[in-house]
């Protein structure tokens, strides 16, 4: 079979590059090469550590009032000799420690909210796209309807009725954000369902469950991860605005939004009370967005080899046929 040999002789060299082992080491190296994504990832990692270990790592008790050390500016030292990296608030509580504890609330609300709305939305969206018919019509009209509602107002109204608090916030966010995932999951499902490989999976006798779980979902991961990351940022911001309005997290628990709300009264005299938590929100959202862009590239099964392989020297052109 000389004909076969000619066909395959050229393959190993051409295909060698793309056949990088998809290992954690390759991912780590790819992350190191992308500086922006790397800095963002490090920032998020530090934030997660700070949030998770706030009770151990924070230099002060976040709720310990020290009236002798009120309004210490950032990098200032109180009269009793305590150093405060980001200053203190109107009750003399250390702002840095409060930010760390606030991060715990903000991050977990963002993560859990995105996770819950993601699970609900993706499940419904995939089912709608896969089975079409009445289910799809009802669901998608519901999505349209929900999208038309002013979400902040609805959130305020429901929280007014069922009362504020951590669990209720998650519930509200799931209720108000599942549509985003449902829409995207449905359109992705519709898109992939047209592909021959879904027909092929059916032709070898795959059940619906199997086709959805092993053939559809892995192909949808990349855009959904991006959406998930972006949603975390959106939810952190929503939580901030709800807490700012007094319907979110309640004192003595603190979150970034709540800190801004409290600091608002002193904005002319103690700017750091508003700027610091504001910066925390901004930087977290920014880092999440930047990591999302990187995650999109790296999770695409067809595209990721480009990011996972080290860049070539310029005199070695590569034929990037997709």
């Amino acid at each position: 079979m000389s004909a076969v040999d000619t066909n395959t002789a050229a393959l190993p060299e051409e295909e060698h590059d793309r056949a990088v082992a998809i290992t954690w080491r390759a991912y780590a190296k790819a992350l190191l090469r992308d500086r922006v994504a790397f800095v963002s990832a490090v920032f998020l990692l530090l934030l997660l550590i700070a949030a998770a270990g706030a009770h151990l790592l924070a230099p002060y008790d976040p709720n310990h009032a020290n009236l002798g050390a009120r309004f210490v500016p950032p990098l200032g030292t109180a009269r009793d000799g305590g150093f405060h990296l980001l200053g203190t608030d109107e009750l003399g509580r250390d702002l840095f420690s409060r930010l760390m504890h606030g991060a715990r609330v903000s991050m977990s609300i963002g993560l859990l909210g995105a996770l819950c709305s993601g699970i609900v939305g993706i499940t419904l969206g995939v089912l709608a796209g896969f089975y079409r018919g009445l289910l799809e019509d009802l669901l998608m009209r519901a999505v349209d309807g929900m999208m038309a509602l002013p979400s902040l107002l609805i959130a305020l109204f429901i929280l007014f009725v069922i009362g504020p608090g951590f669990a209720n916030l998650i519930l509200i966010f799931t209720l108000l954000h599942w549509m985003v995932f449902a829409r995207m999951a449905r359109s992705l499902t519709l898109n992939h369902q047209q592909s021959t490989y879904i027909t092929a999976a059916r032709a070898i006798g795959g059940s619906d469950r199997r086709i959805i779980l092993t053939h559809l979902l892995p192909n949808m991961v990349s855009p959904l991860i991006v959406l998930f990351t972006l949603e975390i940022a959106v939810l952190i911001l929503s939580e901030a605005s709800l807490s700012f309005l007094g319907f979110g997290v309640q004192a003595p628990q603190s979150s970034w939004g709540l800190m801004i709300a409290r600091g608002r009264e002193y904005i002319s005299s103690a700017w750091w009370l508003v700027v610091m938590p504001g910066a925390a929100i901004f930087l977290t959202a920014l880092a999440l967005n930047l990591v999302a862009a990187w995650a999109r590239a790296i999770t695409d099964p067809v595209q990721r080899w480009r990011w996972l392989t080290p860049p070539r020297r310029k005199n070695q052109p590569v034929d990037h046929d997709a």
């Binding site: 295909e15 070898i204 006798g205 099964p301």
Partner: protein
């Protein structure tokens, strides 16, 4: 080697493995019901190679997809009978039918590149059915995948079993596709234009491979194509479809030596020949009818050079021309004599 079917050993003519009776497929569209396949009947014996020839839109793929149960309903409607080993596939329970697909009847597709899941390794995909039906372990499945890759002559299978489809060339993807279809040793392999997306040398390799595998396993092959050359080389019996109906069905030698339907004649004359006179190729005038606007009478009459008044009014039935050779034309007798 598969063990012989009981009826096959006793009978001179083997019992059909697959029998299609008056298969009709239509679709709901915004312009009303459109008939894609209008009453097609054929049989397939064990180990036989059947070629289905037709232009795009002649209903050749749709008919086979209906047999496989890949037509979504609604908007599709499938009627008629498809007997697999005497059992009607169209009316059986969905779970039983799913069992049949992959296990007994497998299908490969035109564009192998897009028929493979980009998110899964080829090994996973090849062994998928096997794992599903035989309930084996991951390592066992991978071993099976390597074995199947060897069978379809993918070189250094062991090192490439964990590659992704985009790391493979088109011909290699088609081999992977074939390996997937062969995992459970099906009795029938339906190949929907398996080589259309490939260049000619690779085309040749794939067809040789299919013929080899067929000889080894004794499976029946249904080859859907519009490539007459391919049909002439590989097929035992060929069926020509036009506008959703069979217009001629004959052993392949008879089809090329004595085509009896004007459409078949036109097709064969439009094929370039290495021994024929050079010059412009013959073309069949006009275009095939749109599925929604089928002409009355014989669907081919607006393009037929031999048409008579009867063609406009009455649709010709398939009539025997010679043993195992049928054609649907009012002028069959005249056509075979000139």
């Amino acid at each position: 080697m598969r063990e012989m079917h009981p009826s096959q050993t006793t009978d001179a003519t083997p019992a059909p493995l697959l029998e299609v009776r008056d298969l009709r497929v239509s679709f709901d569209t915004p312009h009303g019901l459109v008939k894609a396949v209008g009453g097609v009947s054929w049989t397939l014996s064990p180990g036989e190679t059947l070629g289905i020839i037709g232009e795009s839109g002649s209903g050749k793929s749709v008919g086979l997809e209906a047999i496989m149960g890949l037509i979504k309903s609604p908007p599709g409607h499938v009627a008629g009978q498809v007997l697999f080993e005497g059992e009607d596939v169209l009316t059986m329970k969905e779970s039983r039918r799913r069992q049949l697909r992959g296990e007994k009847i497998a299908m490969i597709f035109q564009d192998a590149m897009s028929a493979l899941n980009p998110a899964l390794t080829v090994g996973t995909q090849i062994a998928e059915v096997y794992r599903l039906r035989r309930r084996c372990s991951q390592t066992e499945a991978e071993r099976k995948a390597v074995e199947l890759m060897d069978r379809v002559k993918i070189p250094s299978a062991k090192s490439r079993v964990r590659c992704y489809p985009h790391e493979f060339s088109g011909g290699m993807c088609q081999r992977v596709m074939i390996a997937t279809a062969l995992a459970l040793n099906p009795l029938i392999l339906i190949a929907d234009e398996p080589t259309t997306a490939l260049d000619v040398t690779v085309q040749r390799q794939i067809m040789t491979l299919l013929a080899d595998l067929q000889r080894e396993d004794g499976m029946a092959l249904v080859l859907i194509t519009h490539d007459l050359g391919l049909v002439a080389e590989t097929v035992d019996r060929a069926m020509v479809m036009y506008a959703g109906r069979v217009v001629e069905s004959a052993p392949v030698s008879a089809l090329f030596d004595a085509p009896s339907h004007p459409y078949t004649r036109g097709l064969i004359r439009s094929m370039p020949r290495i021994d024929g006179a050079s010059g412009a190729l013959h073309a069949i005038g006009g275009t095939p009818p749109a599925a929604g606007r089928m002409p009355r009478g014989c669907a081919f009459h607006p393009r037929c050079t031999h048409r008579i008044d009867r063609c406009r009014a009455e649709r010709p039935a398939l009539r025997p021309v010679a043993p195992r050779h049928t054609a649907a034309c009012h002028l069959v007798e005249e056509m075979t004599h000139d």
